[in-house]
């Protein structure tokens, strides 16, 4: 009994050092050398390409209906027969109609993380008219921009195709600059 207690304490100390300190410190050290960009959060000058941001107004493409609080991730957790979810969606639909956009489901629903950096391809195309008008661009030019930003399924079959909202808006800003300049 006392022998097992002594062993439990010693092995807990060994595991604390090996698994709790050495393992994460060594993997961090190596990751910082091999993949420094990814290991620190894929940060660019305008934010992380992996963490979604809130975009407002007609000039920018919008993403999911998320909170985008990167210090408190998480979903709404509203169920499929929830009145609160129906009201939330109806409010988002009214907002998009007010912007002159006929929204897709992914634009008016939240994601699993509350930080989704991406939007569905259909969701981006739905906003082309609004964005083109607000920036004084032709719809066909903005449509071409959206098409150029589509990220296909990984290796052709994994997950879903999507558009990264930050990359799309950065490309849009460049397009606006070139057109006006």
């Amino acid at each position: 009994m006392l022998v097992q207690l002594r062993r439990s304490i010693i092995v807990s100390a060994i595991f604390f050092v090996l698994l709790g300190l050495v393992y994460p410190l060594v993997t961090t050290g190596l990751a910082q050398v091999v993949f420094p960009h990814q290991a620190n959060g894929s940060l660019t000058s305008n934010g992380s390409t992996l963490i979604g941001q809130r975009w407002s107004g007609r000039r920018w493409f919008h993403g999911r209906a998320d909170a985008f609080n990167a210090m408190a991730s998480g979903a709404s957790n509203l169920g499929p027969n929830s009145k609160a979810l129906e009201e939330f969606v109806a409010k988002e639909v009214r907002y998009y109609h007010h912007l002159g956009v006929n929204p897709t489901a992914s634009l008016v629903t939240g994601s699993g993380s509350g930080l989704d950096p991406d939007v569905s391809v259909a969701g981006a195309y739905a906003q082309v008219g609004m964005v083109a008008k607000a920036n004084g661009l032709s719809s066909s030019a903005v449509s071409r921009l959206v098409a150029s930003q589509i990220v296909g399924q990984q290796f052709g079959f994994l997950g879903s195709q999507y558009i990264n909202v930050l990359s799309l808006n950065e490309a849009l800003a460049t397009l606006v600059r070139h057109t006006k300049g």
Binding site: L19, V34, S56, A72, S73, S76, V108, T109, G159, S160
Partner: protein, 563 residues
């Protein structure tokens, strides 16, 4: 098309794991893997353990219980005291006593139920030194119990079932740590983060949007979370968070990691008892359930979300996307969450609470079957072997013979132990859910109302008693009521099955082998698989059907009514 190809790649990968990871695990627990024997010997010397000396089942169990108690204390102390400890860039204060107790029990029992948000509650030291450590250790304990039970079947007239300390150390050193170490870099390469730099402050030059982004040593925790079927995320959003699970590839790798050890242990089982067909029968049973649940789950999430439809969206071409990430889509999200609930992992890449009623029911019932399809690392195998004993007992009753399993006579003592191990989970779930639905502290914590609110409570206790740890996360579980009742459920659900499994290992190991005769009921045939499937369905179905009808079924049959 993408979904079909994803499933094909998954099953090919699992088949390779079964054969090769299975053979490697067999070699580890036979003591034939030695590439780290230097550090391994050092640990044994520090512990005063002779790696050749074995333990009786009583001593094995006692070592395991004492070790787990110490692990709970250490985990509790580290997170209680984190405010005074280093590696705490956000200056988080110590975790409250009830929450610390729940969390310590949760990680030591391989449950990883989380009544907290990682990024706002746990310091880096707590995430690494306290929680990640238990992710390795609890997984190794689970596998050790499964291997000890297999030894009970495989040996004859033996008074020992192995050495707990040796099994524990070998599982960590040779199996869990090397795979996690390598996979960490794959995840980081895809975009998972691994840093001690603290939160990042962002200002978008395009529109002036500002954001603070929580960071930390995430990838090293993420891989063992899946490999050890633990499920506790660094972030509140768990596997939905892009820093934990950034791409379609990491999503599929997560599913493979989750399923690899539970399925491969059936290979170890077949080989150790000297007839691989016995392992095939068990894995076939697991696969049958897993495939049905996956198909129905993916199908359900392709459907529309009622509330989104009524909110004004006429067509939901991508399926039910509320609570799901764009980069995964509905099918990959359903696959991930089904794999995680069928294995006592409990990680999620989408909100369980926002699944369709039928999709949510598949998550819930996957756990209610007792986490044997294929179940958690080790726990899945030792629990399904308890079901197998009940199955041969029923088979024996039908033809009026003393049942045998793997050449061991199954007598009153074995059947009693197996029945206890099988029934302890449903009893715990139903009693605790019953209590929570009649007291104010239980019902006031639900987010959704109506049948969905009841499902949140039922899900919480099913998840904790099965050591799964996933949640219908609308439930606000961080109250003294849920923290303490939940910890009770997790302790009973873990040790209430481990102790019977080890007792069984002991009594079976002492028995001699009965030579196979014409009258022996063969347990490597489709007939036995059918019987085992029947027992699992009947035990799960009879105990839980009334509760299911009050939750997801009532919601599904409410014809678009909102609550």
């Amino acid at each position: 098309m993408g979904t079909a190809l994803t499933l094909i790649v998954l099953f090919v990968a699992l088949a390779l794991c079964w054969r090769y990871l299975g053979a490697y695990m067999l070699a580890i627990y036979d003591g034939r893997v030695r590439w780290l024997r230097g550090p391994e010997r050092l640990i044994y010397r520090a512990l005063g353990v002779d790696s050749e000396a074995e333990q009786s089942w009583q001593r094995y169990t006692m070592s395991l219980i004492i070790f787990s108690a110490v692990a709970i204390l250490v985990t509790y102390a580290l997170i209680r005291l984190q405010g005074h400890l280093p590696l705490n860039p956000e200056h988080l204060s110590g975790v409250s006593p009830a929450l610390s107790f729940n969390t310590a029990v949760s990680f030591v029992t391989n449950t990883n139920w989380q009544n907290y948000s990682g990024e706002t509650t746990m310091s880096y030291l707590s995430q690494m030194g306290s929680l990640t450590v238990q992710m390795f250790v609890s997984a190794s304990v689970g596998i050790a119990v499964a291997v000890a039970l297999i030894r009970g079947f495989a040996r004859k007239e033996s008074s020992t079932i192995g050495n707990f300390w040796v099994d524990l150390v070998r599982g960590v050193l040779y199996l869990l740590l090397p795979i996690s170490f390598v996979m960490t870099f794959v995840f980081v390469g895809q975009g998972a983060i691994q840093t001690f730099a603290g939160p990042a402050h962002i200002k978008n030059a395009l529109d002036g949007f500002t954001q603070v982004i929580a960071r930390g040593p995430v990838a090293s925790m993420e891989v063992i979370k899946q490999l050890g079927t633990n499920g506790g995320g660094f972030f509140n959003a768990n596997g939905a968070d892009p820093f934990e699970n950034p791409t379609g590839l990491t999503n599929l790798l997560s599913v493979i990691l989750i399923l690899s050890i539970p399925f491969s242990l059936t290979y170890v089982f077949g080989k150790m008892v000297g007839n691989i067909r016995q392992g095939v029968a068990v894995v076939a049973t697991m696969l049958l359930f897993f495939c049905i649940w996956t198909a129905v789950g993916i199908g359900a999430e392709h459907g529309a979300n009622t509330a989104v439809h009524l909110g004004g969206i006429a067509h939901q071409v991508a399926g039910n996307m509320n609570g799901k990430e764009t980069r995964f889509g509905s099918s990959s999200s359903a696959l991930y969450n089904i794999a995680s609930t069928q294995t006592s992992t409990g990680s999620v890449d989408a909100s369980n609470d926002s699944f369709t009623p039928i999709g949510g029911m598949m998550l819930l019932t996957g756990m209610m079957l007792g986490e044997v399809t294929p179940g958690g690392v080790g726990s899945g195998l030792y629990t399904i072997l308890l079901f197998a004993i009940v199955a041969v007992f029923l088979g024996g009753l039908m033809v009026g013979r003393t049942p045998e399993y793997l050449g061991k006579k199954i007598q009153a003592r074995e059947v009693k132990i197996a029945a206890l191990g099988v029934l302890v989970m449903p009893i715990t779930v139903l009693v605790l859910t019953g209590i929570a639905t009649v007291v104010q502290s239980g019902t006031s914590a639900t987010l959704n109302s109506g049948p969905h609110g009841f499902t949140e409570i039922l899900y919480a206790f099913t998840s904790q008693a099965n050591n799964n740890g996933s949640a219908f996360a609308g439930l606000s579980g961080n109250t003294p009521f849920y923290n303490i009742l939940g910890a009770v459920a997790m302790l009973i659900g873990r040790f209430g099955v481990i102790v019977p499994a080890l007792a069984l290992a002991g009594t079976l190991g002492k028995k001699g082998l009965v030579p196979e005769s014409l009258g022996t009921f063969r347990t490597d045939t489709p007939l036995f698989i059918g019987l085992l499937v029947g027992v699992i369905v009947i035990v799960g179905g009879l105990t839980f059907f009334p509760a299911i009808s009050l939750g997801p079924l009532a919601e599904q049959l409410s014809h678009g009514r909102l609550f």
